[in-house]
């Protein structure tokens, strides 16, 4: 029983991280119909920057904020420089370009920081909390993960549902041409979508790094888990990303806890295939309409 509870709690914390990165994928997919396979690598590079800042004696929270800002700029930059020229081309082109960006970022991080994995500090203590007299596998840091991802989710929802900026973002994602005719600056809002995704990706990197071996490749698996989560949620809905993240996190955790951690990616693959076979449009997506 204790094992089950601990595995569940672990899955919950991981699921929240997957949800943050899945949210990044959803923000970009909503805006530009592209899955950004470099999202994990972008979070990786910003986390390495955070590590450098901390190494120079910058306080943790300043580094934290700085890195979120860098993620914002990086996301906007990638959209403007790499994605904008691909508009109107085959949907395979952006996939290949983001994959190219993924390997470039990993290569750059490897060249600068070396392959050896280094530690990355957590914001709060990582030793388990004590409930009654038993120690559970849920630390102050896990609480921080839970809270920060929830804050991110709520902020996104408020932005989309309750502000005029969010309305314009939704409109330009829904129909770029009509929005442009109505005076919405569509291009700018697409860039903003990528920039916000950059923030979510940076946050995911900062949350994953303390509990993983911190190497240039540490976000690879997180990215595919987040992709699984986003697809389960339908690639369009922030709430779907949260629920997909939790489903993925818990499934991965149970597979890891009972069958061995080596089978976790395979478990995710099975989950993804089942999800795609059963409901290709995801749980929270609108009914499918095929574009001819």
């Amino acid at each position: 029983m204790g094992l089950f509870v601990n595995i569940t709690l672990d899955g919950l914390a991981n699921g929240m991280i997957f949800a943050a990165l899945a949210l990044a994928l959803v923000l970009i997919f909503r805006a530009t119909r592209i899955v950004n396979f470099a999202q994990g690598a972008m979070g990786m590079i910003t986390t390495f920057i955070a590590s450098s800042l901390l190494g120079r004696g910058v306080a943790y929270w300043w580094a934290f904020l700085a890195v979120l800002a860098i993620g914002f700029v990086l996301g906007a930059l990638v959209e403007r420089v790499l994605i904008r020229p691909l508009q109107g081309k085959s949907e395979l082109n952006p996939v290949i370009v983001t994959i190219g960006l993924l390997v470039v970022l990993e290569g750059v991080a490897g060249t600068i920081y070396g392959n050896s994995s280094r530690g990355f500090p957590a914001a709060y203590s990582q030793s388990g909390l004590t409930v009654g007299h038993t120690k559970i596998a849920f630390s102050h840091f896990d609480v921080f993960i839970l809270v920060s991802v929830l804050v991110l989710m709520i902020a996104t929802l408020v932005l989309f549902r309750a502000t005029s900026l969010g309305l314009r973002m939704r409109a330009s994602a829904f129909s770029g041409e009509i929005s442009r005719l109505l005076g919405v600056r569509v291009g700018l809002l697409l860039t903003l979508g990528w920039a916000l995704a950059g923030v979510a990706g940076s946050l995911a990197g900062l949350l994953v790094a303390p509990t993983s071996s911190f190497s240039p490749y540490f976000m690879d698996l997180v990215l595919v888990y987040a992709f699984t989560a986003a697809v389960i949620g339908g690639l369009e809905s922030p709430v779907g990303a949260l629920i997909g993240g939790l489903i993925t996190g818990l499934s991965i955790s149970y597979v890891g806890g009972y069958l061995g951690s080596g089978l976790q990616p395979l478990g995710a693959l099975v989950l993804l295939m089942v999800a795609l076979m059963a409901r290709p449009e995801g749980i929270f997506a609108r009914p499918p309409a095929r574009r001819v």
Binding site: F37, V95, I99, V103, T228, L272
Partner: protein
Amino acid sequence: MTPPAVPGLALGRARWFRRLRLPTQPLARHMILALCGAAVLYVVTSSLSPYNDFEVGEIALYVIALSGLSLLTGVNGQISLGHGAFMAVGAYATALLMTHTHLNFLLELLASIGAAAILGLVIGIPATRLKGPYLAGMTLLLALALPPIADKWSTTFGGDQGLTTTVPAAPGTTNPEEWLAWIQIMGALIVVVLLANLLRSRFGRTFRAVRDDEIAASLAGIHVARTKVIAFVISAGCAGLAGAFLGLSTGVVNTGEFPLTLSIQLLAAMVLGGTGTLMGMWWGAVLLVYLPQWSTSLSGDFNLGSGASAYLATIIFGVVLIVAMIAAPTGIQGGLRWAWGRISVFGSRLGVSTPSVSEGPGATLHGPDQVRNSG
């Protein structure tokens, strides 16, 4: 058209050029090209050092994997970011058979094709319902999911050490590297001829039709799902054979040989060579084998650390991939075709080359098609 200055000379040149043209019948044409390639490669491999023979063999095995990927992505429009996984399955299938049985070498190679093709079927069936980015994500996950399985059951798959492979003994006094290179070159030529014929057949046309417009293809009576699965199975089978050859080249099969980077480099090499062509895959394979070496020497020139050289190759691959996608999506082969087209146009102005109406109906019938399919 400007009339040629010296009519007699131009006519003579035209006849000379006409006689050099390859036959238009696909099988004969591809066989002749393959035999010429084999002859050239035979001369090349017998004059090279054993290490260079090893590299030529590696180029040949990557040609096999890339041709399959080019068929899948370029001709059928399905992307795969996980072709390294199919290579791994082929490599492990051959290595397991070599460890536990004493089958005929050719049967072992066929088994590697079969094993990878079965995985291709398993992935290809759900893939029929998926569009671009979804399929990309699923195959990416496949590339990450398969290698840890071999680590999990390390008693079967040999763990970190991996399984050893043995190349059948070379005949006579041939040195083993040259012999292996020959096996791989023969494999590559057979695969490329088969695929080239396939692409000129009914299958090739249905592959392209499905890529261009699924709904139109199904209205024309093409079974879209079956066509996509067939393309996936063929492509996976090619990758399986390439994996088996990779295992033979390195002598061992372990999970370290099939990282995610391999799958991405295959994709990059395919794009650079020229997506959808077969000829371009030779350029892609050459890049795949030599780029890491060039980057190692380059990082030596710039006094980068030894660790950096491995990453430099990755960075170059990535940058070239992005630039190619934005600036030159047709790759090297596309560029060569464009250049050849310019030369032909220039030549026809001089009254020299390219079939025209005056050369009879046979030439025009196949003319445009050749321009498109000559790769």
